[in-house]
C-alpha cells in the first residue's frame, strides 16, 4: 500500500465521478426516498426501523455496490485497468483509492438522507459499527461483480438482484409472508436484517452474522480477482 498512489487514484476517480452522469444520479436515490417519507409522514413520530433501513439498503446497494462495480467494469471494458496494473501501483492501491471515493459519496448521501427522516436512531456506537460492517459487505460484493463483469452494461444485470435481495431486504415483512415461513427465516439472516437487530438487543450476535457475510463476500471477491488476473 502506498498513500501517494492511493491518492492519485482517488483524485482521478473523484474527477471522473463528477463528470459521469450515470454515476452522479446514484447518490440522489436515497435522498429522493427520504424526501418522499418526510413529505408523506408529516408530523408523525419516528419512522419504523424497516423503513429507515430501506434508505440504508438503498444507499449501500444503489451507491456503494453500484458505484464500485461500475468503476471497475469500466476500467476493464476500456482497457485502462491494464495501464494501472502496468504502473507501479498495486492492485490494493487501486481498490483502496476507488473505495475511498465510493465511501465518501455513500457517506454524504446516507447522512443527508437520514438527517431528513431523523438520524437519532443511528447515533449510537454499535449501530454505527453495524453500518460500517454493512458498507464493507456491499463494497466487497461490488468489487467482485465489477471484476468479473467485463462491461458496464453487464453490471446492471447483476445489480438488480443485489439491490432486491440485499438492499431492500427490510421490505420483506410487507409482502405478507407468515412469521415462520421459509422466506422470513432465510432473509432474517441477511445483513440488513441483522443490522436492524442491533437496535433492539445488546447481543453481539448480529455483528458476528454480518461479519460472516463479509467473509463470504471477501472470498467471492478474491475468486473473481484470481480469475481476472490469470488470462492465459
Amino acid at each position: 500500500m502506498n498513500i501517494q498512489r492511493i491518492h492519485a487514484i482517488f483524485e482521478k476517480d473523484i474527477k471522473d465521478f463528477m463528470k459521469n452522469m450515470m454515476l452522479l444520479v446514484l447518490p440522489a436515490l436515497p435522498l429522493v426516498i427520504a424526501l418522499l417519507y418526510a413529505l408523506t409522514s408529516e408530523g408523525e413520530a419516528e419512522l419504523p426501523l424497516p423503513l429507515l433501513y430501506l434508505i440504508v439498503g438503498m444507499a449501500f446497494s444503489g451507491i456503494t455496490s453500484a458505484m464500485i462495480m461500475t468503476m471497475m467494469a469500466e476500467e476493464n471494458e476500456k482497457n485502462t485497468l491494464r495501464g494501472l496494473i502496468q504502473s507501479p501501483a498495486s492492485f490494493v492501491d487501486i481498490i483502496v483509492g476507488k473505495s475511498l471515493v465510493t465511501g465518501i459519496i455513500t457517506l454524504i448521501s446516507l447522512v443527508a438522507s437520514l438527517m431528513i427522516v431523523g438520524i437519532e436512531p443511528f447515533l449510537e456506537f454499535r449501530v454505527i459499527l453495524g453500518l460500517i460492517l454493512l458498507f464493507l459487505f456491499f463494497l466487497l460484493l461490488g468489487i467482485g461483480i465489477g471484476l468479473f463483469s467485463k462491461t458496464v452494461s453487464a453490471t446492471s444485470a447483476y445489480l438488480m438482484p443485489v439491490m432486491l435481495l440485499f438492499g431492500f431486504t427490510s421490505m420483506v415483512g410487507t409482502f405478507g409472508f407468515a412469521e415462520d415461513s421459509m422466506a422470513i427465516t432465510i432473509t432474517d439472516t441477511f445483513p440488513i436484517m441483522q443490522a436492524i437487530k442491533i437496535h433492539d438487543s445488546s447481543s453481539w450476535m448480529p455483528m458476528v452474522v454480518i461479519a460472516i457475510w463479509i467473509i463470504a463476500a471477501a472470498i467471492f471477491t478474491y475468486v473473481c480477482f484470481r480469475n481476472t488476473m490469470t488470462d492465459d
Partner: protein, 282 residues
C-alpha cells in the same frame, strides 16, 4: 555494449497453439530495436511476456538485469514504459489529468507533464477532454503516458498503426529525441518504412519464429541481387553484376562519360520479409 534485454529459448504456448517458438535475441542498451511481423505472428505476446503481463512457457528472459520473477515489482515497473496495442485514455478527463494520474503513480515530478506535452506537440491541447481528441492526438497522449517517468526502456506495441503520416512523423521525432538521451526502445510494427527509418536493428517474427536479425541496411545488402542499374547518355539501360570482374567495365563507362544515372537496386524490408517468410507483411 551491455544488454538491455536477453531472451533465450523463449517459448509460449496457449493451449495447443504455439505462439512463440524457441526465440533467442538480445537488445543492446540504447538501441532502437524493431520486431517486425504480420498480424498474429506473436508480437504482442512477446511484448506481454517481456513486460510481465503474460508468463512464459519455457526459456529465459532477462530485462534490465532482472529475470521474469521480478517483472511484477514496482522497481521493474518504474524502469519501463509501455504503450500497449489497445490502450485508451480516461475519456472524461483532460489530457493533463490523464497524464497527472500516471505522473503520480510513477512518482515523477509534475513538471514532466508539461515537458512531455511539448515533446509530443500537444501542450496547446492539454486542457482538452480526451474524448474530443483525434485518434492521432490520443495516440500521442498515450505515448506521453508511457514516457512520463523517463523510463530506461520503452515498449511500444504498434505505436503508429492506422495513423496519418503527419502524426507518424511527430511520433518518430519524439522517439528519436528519446533515443538520443540513451533510452532503449523496443517497438513492434508492420510498417516497413517506419522500421527502416527508426530502427538500429530489426528482427523478423513469423509464426512465432525469429527469421532474421540485423540492421535494416545489412539486411537490404544481404538480400540485394548485387547489381548496378546503369543508364547511359545514349539512353541504353544496363544491369551490371557487382563483382570484381565487372569493375573494369564500370570504370570504363564512367571514364568515357557515358553514364547518365546509376543506382543499386536493394530490396525494401517488405520485399525481404516476403522472400524470407513467403508471406506479405501486412
Amino acid at each position: 555494449m551491455k544488454s538491455a534485454m536477453e531472451v533465450k529459448e523463449l517459448q509460449k504456448v496457449f493451449g495447443k497453439n504455439i505462439a512463440i517458438k524457441h526465440v533467442d535475441f538480445n537488445v543492446k542498451q540504447g538501441e532502437i530495436f524493431g520486431l517486425l511481423g504480420p498480424s498474429g505472428s506473436g508480437k504482442t505476446t512477446m511484448v506481454k511476456i517481456l513486460t510481465g503481463e503474460l508468463s512464459k512457457t519455457a526459456g529465459d528472459v532477462n530485462v534490465l538485469g532482472m529475470d521474469s520473477s521480478k517483472f511484477k515489482t514496482s522497481d521493474f515497473k518504474s524502469k519501463v514504459g509501455i504503450l500497449s496495442d489497445n490502450s485508451t485514455l480516461y475519456k472524461r478527463l483532460s489530457v493533463y489529468d490523464n497524464l497527472k494520474l500516471f505522473c503520480k503513480l510513477y512518482k515523477a515530478p509534475l513538471h514532466h507533464i508539461d515537458d512531455i506535452l511539448h515533446d509530443v506537440h500537444l501542450y496547446e491541447e492539454r486542457f482538452k477532454t480526451a474524448s474530443d481528441l483525434s485518434k492521432g492526438m490520443a495516440q500521442r497522449v498515450l505515448l506521453a503516458k508511457a514516457l512520463i517517468h523517463k523510463p530506461d526502456l520503452v515498449f511500444l506495441d504498434e505505436p503508429t498503426s492506422a495513423l496519418d503520416p503527419g502524426t507518424m512523423i511527430h511520433i518518430h521525432r519524439a522517439l528519436q529525441k528519446l533515443n538520443e538521451v540513451g533510452t532503449t526502445i523496443f517497438l513492434t510494427t508492420h510498417n516497413m518504412e517506419e522500421a527502416t527509418e527508426l530502427c538500429d536493428r530489426v528482427a523478423f517474427l513469423h509464426k512465432g519464429e525469429l527469421q532474421e536479425l540485423d540492421s535494416p541496411a545489412a539486411l537490404r545488402y544481404k538480400y540485394s541481387d548485387h547489381t548496378f542499374h546503369v543508364e547511359t547518355v545514349a539512353g541504353e539501360r544496363m544491369v551490371i553484376k557487382n563483382e570484381p570482374e565487372t569493375a573494369d567495365q564500370v570504370r570504363q563507362l564512367i571514364a568515357n562519360r557515358q553514364v547518365k544515372a546509376m543506382h543499386t537496386d536493394n530490396p525494401t524490408l517488405g520485399q525481404i520479409f516476403l522472400k524470407v517468410t513467403g508471406k506479405e507483411l501486412v
